[in-house]
């Protein structure tokens, strides 16, 4: 659905040359929710602008829905929806009129019908005659999402969709993205809200001018930290830890207070053997759980590595 090949963007002024995006090679499959993670100024928005044919690349190429940027720009604009960093609504026009304008520019056949559908879907129908300027930030964001959906695009680019929203509004937007996912739309989600990426994305890419890594959140965790299982015991001893550590599939085992923290590759396969061993050695197991590192930990590892 989205493919880039050495996609590069440089901003050249008389004094400086800034490389915003460097040799980006990426593939996003149809129906995938792809999280594009990176710090502020990493080049995420520039990438989205290139992929939506708002700006052209300096070198390399991008193919979106079979259309090449720079060559088929109008076709790309027709088949993608974009939620820009700021809602950018016409504040002194009504919510309904705002959407009507965009529906016509996106060549929507049933303008009134589509506008009503999305205003209702996002809970704005009752406020349709109100000026967009009177809306709260969350409502404006919902209106901007409706705008991006009017022409039923198969590919959506969402640039920081929950940035600056209160938890309730952010939740609503996230639920809406989850709903889009069930409709089989391809979603390219730029965010630095890692919890959001973790919950919504099939794969994530960590990006800072260049792509540092791409994988599923689970694989990234395992790549950096391995998988850790915590065995809560009535009392954990260093001897128990040593016994577990001796197992060939265990990378590391530590006794921490009354817990035994075990790092291993495939807990689903090997946990029963560890439990068996602990029970045989007289341990009283209260419960077992997996220690999940947050995506934030993973992200920071990659960003620090890149900085180093």
């Amino acid at each position: 659905m989205i493919q880039t090949e050495n996609l590069t963007k440089k901003f050249v002024t008389k004094e400086t040359t800034t490389v915003a995006v460097e040799n980006l090679n990426l593939e996003v499959a149809e129906g995938e929710v792809f999280g594009f993670l990176g710090p502020n100024g990493a080049g995420k928005t520039t990438t989205v602008r290139m992929l939506t044919s708002l700006i052209g690349p300096t070198s390399g190429k991008a193919v979106v829905n079979g259309f090449t940027t720079g060559k088929d720009d109008q076709e790309i604009r027709r088949c993608v929806g974009i939620l820009t960093e700021t809602p950018g609504m016409y504040d002194n026009l009504s919510a309904e009129f705002n959407l009507e304008i965009y529906a016509r520019l996106y060549e929507v056949k049933d303008v009134k019908g589509q506008v009503e559908k999305y205003l209702r879907m996002l809970g704005l129908w009752e406020r349709r005659q109100d000026e967009a300027g009177t809306f709260s930030k969350g409502m404006k964001q919902k209106l901007a999402i409706a705008r991006a959906m009017l022409h039923e695009p198969r590919i959506m680019f969402l640039d920081e969709p929950t940035s600056g929203l209160d938890p309730e509004a952010a939740r609503l937007v996230r639920d809406f993205i989850a709903e889009l996912r069930t409709q089989g739309r391809t979603i390219f989600l730029c965010t630095h809200n890692l919890d959001e990426a973790d919950r919504l994305c099939d794969r994530v890419g960590v990006f800072k001018s260049r792509l540092l890594v791409v994988d599923t959140p689970a694989n990234l965790r395992s790549q950096i930290f391995g998988r850790k299982v915590v065995f809560h015991l009535r009392s954990a001893t260093p001897e128990m830890a040593a016994q577990v550590q001796a197992l060939p599939f265990v990378r590391e085992a530590r006794a921490v207070e009354s817990k035994l923290v075990v790092t291993l590759e495939d807990p689903e396969t090997y946990n029963p053997q560890i439990i068996q061993l602990l029970v045989n050695s007289g341990a009283e197991i209260q419960f077992v759980g997996e220690l999940r590192h947050s995506l934030e930990d993973v992200y920071l590892q990659f960003i620090r590595k890149a900085a180093a």
Partner: protein
């Protein structure tokens, strides 16, 4: 070229314009003022009280045009009023400046330009829409103002020769032909300025410079340096038409989506 999209841009621009009190007042009061001034001049310089030798003080060319049809007083009246009728050439230049100067830089500052440019609208469609949205009100206001002036002249003046000398083919050409051409010139000049600066106020100030040539014509005629004639108006129309074509081309060429989006802060 998709005319539906052009119509949509015009509708959008007008919906915004007609909510902006500053622009509304400039569309209403400017033509009213420019209509009132020549009417006041007409009422002030009535035949009575102006000596028959008054035309001896007029520029020679003008006095020659008056010929035998107009008395000295009437000739002086026509001269004074027609000097101020040049105001009707300022209206189509001035009104669009407010609208057009805001149209690009205003979209940028309110951050509405990026979603707009993300739609499948071409630069030409966008700019033609914005052009027409600014030109049409300016031209209509000018024509309406001239219509009011013509009606007022019939009521105020008692001399049919004076009316004939004021509402003549030259002024009709100036208003009907030069008006729209001047508006197009003004709009495109403003668009070019607007897409190069970051502040709507700066855009307006620079764009207002477009009025200077007409002010020059006004001063030139007042001081007798030259006289507007029908042939001069036609030549001016051709020149402005050529400048318009060049400016329309230039405004589309200079509208660099990428620079506007990525360089403007």
């Amino acid at each position: 070229m998709d005319f539906e999209k052009i119509k949509t841009i015009i509708r959008k621009e007008w919906a915004e314009i007609f909510k902006n009190k500053m622009i509304i007042s400039s569309i209403i009061f400017m033509p009213l003022l420019m209509t009132a001034i020549p009417l006041v001049m007409l009422a002030t310089f009535q035949n009575e009280g102006i000596s028959e030798s008054a035309n001896s003080e007029l520029p020679a060319q003008f006095a020659a045009i008056c010929g035998s049809q107009l008395s000295g007083g009437a000739c002086f009246q026509v001269y004074m009023v027609s000097s101020f009728m040049i105001m009707f050439m300022i209206v189509p230049l001035f009104i669009p400046v407010n609208i057009a100067a805001y149209s690009i830089v205003g979209e940028k500052t309110s951050r509405t330009l990026e979603p707009l440019l993300a739609t499948p609208i071409t630069t030409a469609e966008l700019l033609i829409g914005k052009n027409l949205a600014a030109v049409i009100p300016a031209v209509l206001a000018t024509w309406l103002g001239f219509g009011i002036f013509a009606a007022g002249a019939f009521i105020i003046s008692r001399d049919p020769n004076v009316i004939g000398a004021l509402i003549n083919p030259m002024w009709l050409l100036a208003v009907i032909l030069i008006g729209p051409l001047s508006a197009i010139l003004s709009v495109n000049f403003s668009m070019i300025v607007s897409s190069r600066v970051n502040d709507p106020r700066v855009a307006e100030q620079i764009s207002a410079l477009v009025i200077l040539p007409v002010v020059g014509i006004f001063m030139g005629q007042m001081f007798g340096l030259f006289l507007l004639t029908q042939s001069l108006i036609l030549v001016a129309a051709v020149i402005i038409g050529i400048i318009d074509a060049f400016l329309v081309y230039l405004s589309i060429q200079l509208f660099e989506r990428e620079n506007i989006l990525s360089r403007w802060k």
